[in-house]
Symmetry: C2
Subunit: 147 residues, 2 copies
DNA sequence: ATATAGATGCAATTCTATTGCATTTGGAGT
DNA sequence: ACTCCAAATGCAATAGAATTGCATCTATAT
């Protein structure tokens, strides 16, 4: 049971420790990829009854505090995942048109030249959203089989 | 008047030539950055009365046909711009949190290693969405002045 | 000139996300 | 352990973008 760790993470955000937040955090921690609000809600309900809006607000608070990363993928929804692991700060994602899945990609696939950026367009860059989109290996395989 | 060119472009998409489509295309052609559906609609109305839905469908058709690129930026809207110029196929964009503007960035700021991608995650990549987000030079300057 | 597949307008609907407000609760201070 | 209040929650309503259904109109192939 990692609830001690979760409590610490929530406290460090300056937020109160509630059962809803613990549940949401547990869901995010067990996820292998960014999850939509809806998907987090459904999973969290297994542990704790809570409103959809609470999930929205919880994820937003976590995001504000820097605890979770918020990703905009191919569809119209936000997805969230824990940004705990210091070894993968920003990394690209792959969105599958076929199954709607969003996968994390290794960091080294994309290189952003912030030095050149500063010269060409001197903005203050706060976030990177790098998405490759198309058909994931699983869906390609299924397609082959049915054709 | 470029309407001959526009007619050809529309015809090459396999679509019928209508006044609404010509107007939308003219708007896109005059734009220096990706524009939201709403913004395209407002501008196109100066030339030709048309429904909001027609703009949605027109842009969607153009996108399907590969005539325009569809970009998902920091907010919840789609933006479109002509992908005519062959010298800038895919390029990154910058979204300003402050003024909501979306700028095109030079291509060479980001390098995607598709070779490595193929090894690490053998998907079929159809599109790239690369957005840097933060505060644009204009808004930074304004902020300095008022502080 | 005519027929018809495709395009349009309008209303209704879907899908996410956000806001307002009354109620409940975590946890700091005693 | 008790009290209190800012913060968190639930529920209903609302916002905003995009999509769909359907009747009507029109570009264009013949």
């Amino acid at each position: 049971m990692k609830s001690r760790l979760y409590e610490k993470l929530i406290r460090d955000c300056g937020l109160k420790i509630t059962r809803a937040r613990l549940a949401v955090l547990a869901v995010l921690d067990s996820a292998t990829r960014p999850r939509s609000t809806d998907s987090v809600h459904r999973a969290a309900l297994e542990m704790e009854p809570m409103d959809r809006v609470t999930v929205y607000r919880t994820l937003e608070s976590f995001h504000q505090a820097g605890l979770v990363e918020r990703v905009r993928a191919g569809d119209r929804t936000w997805r969230y995942h824990l940004s705990l692991e210091p070894d993968r700060p920003v990394h690209p994602h792959f969105f599958c048109y076929c199954c709607g899945k969003l996968e994390c990609l290794p960091r080294n696939i994309v290189r952003v030249d912030l030095e050149r950026m500063k010269q060409e367009y001197p903005a203050r860059v706060e976030h990177l959203q790098i998405n490759l989109e198309g058909f994931c290996p699983d869906c390609l395989a299924k397609q082959d089989r049915t054709e």
